[in-house]
Subunit: 337 residues, 3 copies
């Protein structure tokens, strides 16, 4: 669906420096854009690609417009504006109302007539599927779930039971929402499994990445608030609460009963111990391990950058012998060297 | 199914301080229990919630009973007793014998008549499914598997081939048991894949979490002994042996041919190198990396707690310059400063 | 299919010390081989098992042949030769051309007549499936994909859309190739999702492990070159490029737009920050975190070996007080102690 630069400028509140009738029909990177595509410049490192771009137009900040060889769409936040324009040019596939013949729907499930249930899907007893929801091939939405309007389950997503999802959710392949939490009581005869009877409550506009896992609560629900984005292979354990608009990069692990604030950002492979509290507006660096409550906004870390292994191993050896170094300094201080 | 406090006390060997005819029909947390539910107090941090609870009864230790405003069920290990009572009040869904019309069962597979094969399941050639086994929607149990009585596969679990599972196993969505191990021979022309021809042998009462992976053996089998509990997103590589009653929290990685003892506990995001041996009764702290054999029971760690990033980065910088500090101390010792 | 030692020696260029008419029909470990199986000795630690082996023949280096009690197949690289012989003795299951009645194939999809589409598979619009491709139970291959000849998708693999796969690919259960990358623009109203419109291009002879995830590109494609082997639970983020013949052990995380060279090896649980570049022939130790470009071949690390927790905690405490130690040494140097 081609759209004119003039219409883009009007819809998204940009200044246009160029012909408003030029049409674009896709987005592209600066370096390989074609004359019918829209590109953008947000990262200053890519500015050197601007002069040679073949795009129809480039979305950029006012201060970069002078060097733009084609039409400019000027925005204070070109990345966010790009995101919105790209969603217009590349909309999600249309939801085609209906239930595929190969889908298996429990008798007591209710599916809105505008929803699309694709091939080989399973919907369990008493589950409710809202308006314009898309449930892709191979998804299993078990009993007692409630899915809000316009949510999308791409393919092979599993909600075993008792998950409540808000509006406009987006669930990527392989994600498991509502599997059992890891609760086991230690006894002389081995572990006794603690039944996990809670559910999961997910707010509006939440995105969960491929093969990520969100456990159901042990007794009460695990909670993911509005606008949370969780990347692939993350683990959210039972009874965790993830505050609104928090984002977690891949392979982050949030332990049981952790309470994470709003607008936090977790770098990849980071993790927490259980029952931790992290306040709002905290940034956790990649690979950081959170072992104590965080009560002040800011950025937190505990990673070591890698280096050549010989050099690294020497450092580790010195670290392991620090005790001796402290002792030697103590002796020097006492004049005992 | 409501049950009286008197019957709970008798069945589970608790002392009851309260009316034996009171009925409970669910479990609940102290803080939001309703008058028909059973709660428990095990974690001392939650004791302050006891006085205001609305539960019908609270399972707790004798020393906490005085402060209980409602009926008390007294147990030396309230958490384990809670686990058992909760399993009674919230049993697993009943297994309804039969094979769903949409399931695909190979000609040579044998399914016990008491087993339930749910919708859209695939069962491969020569596979045997025992009594009262539940195979949930979307599961693939490939050829040459043998599933012991009363095991449960929740949904979208995959056993590609040659996996032997004991009794009462519990397999959460997305788990993959018996995928190829990572075996590749390095040659001048690139990697040559080493065929992975072993299987997986899993004991009784084993639980495997959502999206966890257990590889088949390269030649001989990968082995998970009785009573092992493995959390979400864990990786058990080819030919590993996990000793009975060991528990591993989320995202733990056990490398190839590692032999882990009995009754070990691994914290989340921990890992091992390959061919390692860990003796019985070892506790591995979260994020620890095991690079050498562990021959003594005890607790092992190698994580750094995170802190504010500026302060952390200074510490890392000092760590990287430790060499110089050692040298300076050496000079001081020689009187060379 | 039994095969004679003589034929093995001829086909794979080994010297045979033994009866060429002896038949083998499987591979086995030295320690429990039966008289109709082939074993191998590559790891010197296993040499002590050689003298008692019951194998029909052992594949080994010339210098180990003297101690072999049975027939010897002599190779300079017994492990690689073993891999090739094992592939002959234990071939992948035969591809049985045809489409299972329960599979759902979009009208515009094209499936080669020699391909096997197994039960409960979904193939999307405009997708092309090449010759002798195997698509196992529960797989979802969405729209606009192109699958090269002889590729295999074991079971429950998901390619949501727009993935191009070369020849002889091998995709293990639960792998998700082409799910959305994690792109979100931060605004005052919360995150705005950046549409992920790129695809994934995968070369020939690529293997992707169970429950691994490879994201589609944000605009341009994510690229996995020929001969790459990726283990279970790895994450390859959007727009990453993985150079030919690179191998990554389980739970490795490659961040967005990272460019990894050829013939690299990543140990388990390692990771990178985004936009990093790693040159060819780099070995990354397990758990290492790559935060800067690597421009020299070699081995890189940043892990700490675990130890008994009391001892470890003391070391961490000393590390945290290093600042003070530097200060004390400075004072000593100034004669201020």
């Amino acid at each position: 669906m081609p759209i004119s630069l003039g219409e883009l400028a009007t819809r998204f509140g940009c200044d246009l420096d160029g012909d408003p009738d030029i049409l674009v029909n896709s987005v592209a990177a600066l370096s390989n854009a074609s004359p019918d595509s829209l590109s953008f410049l947000s990262n200053p490192k890519l500015k050197k690609q601007l002069s040679a771009t073949q795009a129809a137009a480039v979305l950029l900040r006012a201060e970069d417009a002078d060097e733009c060889p084609v039409a400019s769409l000027i925005s204070k936040d070109p990345y966010a504006t790009y995101a919105r324009m790209a969603a217009l040019l590349h909309p999600s596939p249309e939801v085609i109302a209906g239930i595929h013949a190969s889908a298996v729907i429990a008798d007591t499930a209710k599916v809105a007539s505008s929803a699309q249930i694709d091939a080989l899907v399973f919907i369990g007893e008493r589950t409710f599927i809202g308006e314009r929801v898309y449930v892709g091939p191979g998804c299993v939405i078990g009993p007692d779930c409630k899915i809000g309007d316009d949510s999308r389950f791409i393919a092979n997503v599993t909600l075993p039971r008792q998950v409540q999802v808000g509006k406009r959710g987006l669930f990527h392949p392989g994600a498991v929402i509502g599997g059992d939490g890891f609760g086991n009581a230690n006894t002389a005869e081995g572990w006794v499994k603690v039944p996990q009877v809670g559910g999961v409550r997910i707010g509006d506009d939440v995105e969960i990445g491929s093969n990520a896992t969100v456990d159901c609560g042990a007794i009460e629900d695990t909670v993911i608030e509005d606008g949370v984005h969780i990347d692939n292979l993350c683990q959210i354990a039972h009874n965790a609460v993830i505050g609104a608009h928090t984002a977690m990069a891949a392979a982050t692990g949030v332990s049981g009963s952790a309470v994470i604030g709003k607008r936090c950002m977790f770098g990849g492979q980071s993790g927490t111990v259980d029952h931790i509290r992290v306040c709002d507006d905290v940034v956790i660096s990649g690979r950081a391990m959170i072992t104590r409550n965080i009560t002040e906004p800011g950025m937190y870390a505990s990673h070591f950058p890698s280096e050549e292994i010989g050099s690294w191993n020497k450092k580790v050896a010195r670290f392991r012998r620090l005790d001796g170094l402290y002792e030697r300094v103590r002796k020097l201080e006492k004049g005992e060297k």
